[in-house]
């Protein structure tokens, strides 16, 4: 099918995906704080309440635990809720329902039910919102069997992966970096899906693999351009899904380049890049490595308010450049 492609922002792409889901599936509805007339804290739901009515775009009280549980209950009994957290940080208030209920219900009931709930989490630092509004908690949820956890990096992917999430019979957690909302990219009209659990090679290269997530994909691509001029040919793998992880794509890339740099915004220790590194160390790609794996992750600190400190807390392009340069020339 030929679908016209337009430039949309990441936020518009999400809104379009939700509108398509609402139009095409009666079971779909949205829940969240201030997603109605306010249009969502980041204006992602926008005017959907005017188009689909307050029965399907529901403003909840400020009750994350209860709200998430209501979404789980509705999902188990036949509806398809898309639950928006105002900030991903507030997942911490709803962990009980996400981790103990949504993730395990199907398993505990021996497969008798499914929990087709979608939860959306505006995540990440860079907005000056300090320690309780800037976290990257994807690794927390990625640690829980029963959940699927995705981090789309482009408008194209977020639309397709959100539609895949709605169609998915299991709970899907979407981490959306707040700084991506205004970024633009080509998005096909109409319905399409991008598979959950599949990484994407954003740039092919021979010398070094960077596995990046979310906004770090864009920083890695920017760094790759500079490195190209220096004669370092970087392959950038956009992981896209944290759980289930696309091991094959990463393994094949590392076998080709023999060097691995992981770049992610969440706290470095026990983060997504820790899992990627361990996975490679256990795999057949290990024998291909010409140098130790390098990880660039968030500093071991809450996100500070001061803008300079805040920037220093998460990997920036110059950090990627420095790490890639030394990795490209390093050896074991």
């Amino acid at each position: 099918m030929d679908q016209a492609v337009r430039e949309l922002s990441y936020a518009q792409a999400i809104q379009e995906a939700m509108a398509i889901a609402l139009e095409t599936d009666e079971r779909v509805f949205l829940m969240g704080e201030d997603i109605g007339v306010y249009g969502g804290a980041f204006q992602v739901t926008g005017d959907l309440v005017e188009r689909f009515g307050a029965d399907r775009v529901i403003d909840t009280p400020i009750s994350e635990l209860g709200g998430a549980g209501v979404a789980v209950g509705a999902a188990v009994t036949g509806l398809r809720p898309i639950f928006e957290f105002q900030f991903s940080d507030f997942a911490t208030l709803a962990m009980e329902q996400i981790v103990n209920q949504a993730a395990k219900m199907r398993y505990m009931l021996g497969g008798a039910v499914s929990v087709p709930v979608v939860m959306r989490f505006p995540a990440g630092s860079g907005t000056g919102a300090a320690a309780q509004h800037s976290q990257s908690l994807e690794a927390w949820l990625g640690h829980v069997p029963g959940l699927k956890v995705i981090q789309p990096a482009t408008p194209h992917d977020v639309k397709g992966m959100l539609l895949a999430a709605v169609a998915d019979p299991d709970p899907v957690m979407i981490f959306e970096h707040k700084l991506l909302y205004k970024t633009k990219g080509p998005v096909p009209e109409g319905y399409y899906t991008v598979p959950i659990g599949k990484a994407e090679i954003r740039r092919e290269g021979r010398d070094l693999t960077i596995v990046a997530t979310s906004i770090m994909v864009h920083k890695a691509l920017e760094a790759a351009k500079t490195l190209e001029a220096e004669g370092i040919d970087v392959e950038v793998v956009d992981l896209r899904t944290v759980r289930p992880m696309d091991k094959e794509t990463v393994i094949e890339s590392v076998k080709k380049t023999s060097r691995l740099l992981c770049v992610y915004e969440g706290v470095k220790t026990l983060g997504v890049g820790a899992e990627v590194s361990a996975m490679i160390a256990e795999s057949e790609a290990f024998d291909f490595l010409d140098a130790p794996i390098v990880r660039l992750g968030g500093a071991e600190t809450p996100i500070p308010y001061n803008p300079e400190l805040e920037k220093a807390t998460v990997p920036q392009v110059p950090d990627i450049l420095a790490a890639a340069r030394s990795l490209a020339t390093g050896s074991r």
């Binding site: 704080e33 201030d34 109605g36 007339v37 306010y38 249009g39 804290a41 403003d59 009280p61 400020i62 009750s63 994350e64 635990l65 209860g66 940080d89 507030f90 208030l93 907005t127 000056g128 919102a129 300090a130 320690a131 309780q132 509004h133 500093a299 071991e300 600190t301 809450p302 500070p304 308010y305 001061n306 803008p307 300079e308 400190l309 220093a312 807390t313």
Partner: protein, 342 residues
């Protein structure tokens, strides 16, 4: 709570609570602080507009009588937990505006050494245990502080400020139950400004008044006009007395209104301009308090002018102090994550 009908009072009759309770000097100080809160926030807003402050902020302009009235009966030793809309609480409890501006500017001389910003502003030395980025986050913490007060027999009371939106978080309900069960010296102060972000009380809460929740936890629930300083202070005074006497917690609902948007990104699509104008022109807490003070002969126009000017200077000096202060060094990024052992 008895409504203070000052206009109807014959000369010599009972004056509203604060005029019986506090000296003229204290009453003038209260006006000074209410102006300090308002001008601090106006100064912060202007600095934000000029790009000197980044991030976002939640202004409490219009709610000054609530913060001030609650804090009037408190001593420096009493404690509070505050909210994302916490500048007024911080100042009412005794913080200096210069160190608050420094925090907003992200400087090391700020109360949180540039790590917290507006949403976490607090002067711990004057009993403020923290503003909070999590709606309802401070409520159980206040109960814990009250448990300490009871165990250590410190005679201290703890105030927990929160908004109407917070009354729908589980933390609120769990905290109120424990406080009442254990008769702790804590006072729950709901500053009901009608909305949690865009969501009105009617659209978020199954009871008409947050104070109605008190019945479920066997404590007094008191409603006051949050824009009338004396009413707020009187309710606080009685709740503090109860708490210090070991009679347990009180829930005070202070009905008020925020003039500004929820944060810096609010388009005010959920309320009318008429509603905002009505509150601003007819129920402004500072104007109402000033009128009372003048009516009772405590201050005249020149006295008010003098307060305004003094406050304006304090604000200008505070901003200069903040601008001139140093920023934190990157090498100290991981400081304060854990307690330093020397």
């Amino acid at each position: 709570m008895a409504q203070a009908k000052t206009k109807d009072l014959p000369a010599g009759a009972n004056l509203p609570f604060i005029y019986r309770e506090y000296s003229a000097e204290r009453l003038k100080q209260a006006l000074h602080k209410m102006y300090l809160i308002r001008q601090f926030e106006e100064g912060a807003e202007e600095s934000y507009m000029r790009g000197l402050i980044h991030g976002t902020m939640h202004l409490s302009i219009g709610q000054e009588a609530s913060a001030m009235g609650i804090c009037m009966p408190l001593t420096n030793d009493d404690q509070i937990t505050s909210t994302h809309r916490g500048h007024g609480h911080c100042i009412a409890k005794g913080a200096e505006v210069s160190k608050m501006f420094a925090e907003f500017f992200g400087k090391t001389t700020g109360y949180c050494r540039g790590r917290g910003g507006s949403m976490h502003i607090a002067d711990v030395s004057t009993g403020n245990l923290g503003a909070n980025g999590i709606v309802g986050g401070g409520i159980p913490i206040a109960v814990g502080a009250a448990l300490t007060a009871k165990r250590l027999k410190s005679d201290r009371v703890v105030i927990s400020f929160f908004g109407d939106g917070a009354n729908n978080e589980g933390a609120f309900h769990e905290a109120l139950n424990m406080a009442s069960l254990w008769k702790l010296p804590v006072i729950f102060v709901c500053e009901n400004n009608g909305y949690g972000m865009s969501t009105s009380m009617a659209r978020s809460t199954a009871v008409p008044n947050v104070a109605d929740r008190a019945a479920a936890y066997a404590m007094p629930g008191v409603i006051v006009d949050g824009n009338v300083l004396s009413e707020v202070a009187e309710a606080s005074h009685e709740a503090v007395r109860r708490a210090r006497a070991g009679e347990g917690p009180t829930l005070i609902e202070s009905k008020t209104y925020r003039y500004r948007g929820h944060s810096k990104s609010d388009r005010n699509r959920y309320r009318t301009k008429e509603e905002i104008d009505d509150w601003m022109t007819n129920r402004d807490p500072i104007v109402r308090y000033e009128n009372e003070l003048m009516e009772f002969g405590i201050i005249d126009q020149a006295g008010i002018e003098a307060i305004r000017e003094a406050v304006a200077k304090e604000i200008a000096d505070g901003i200069e102090f903040a601008k001139a202060s140093p920023s934190p060094e990157i090498r100290n990024l991981e400081r304060y994550v854990y307690t330093e052992t020397v």
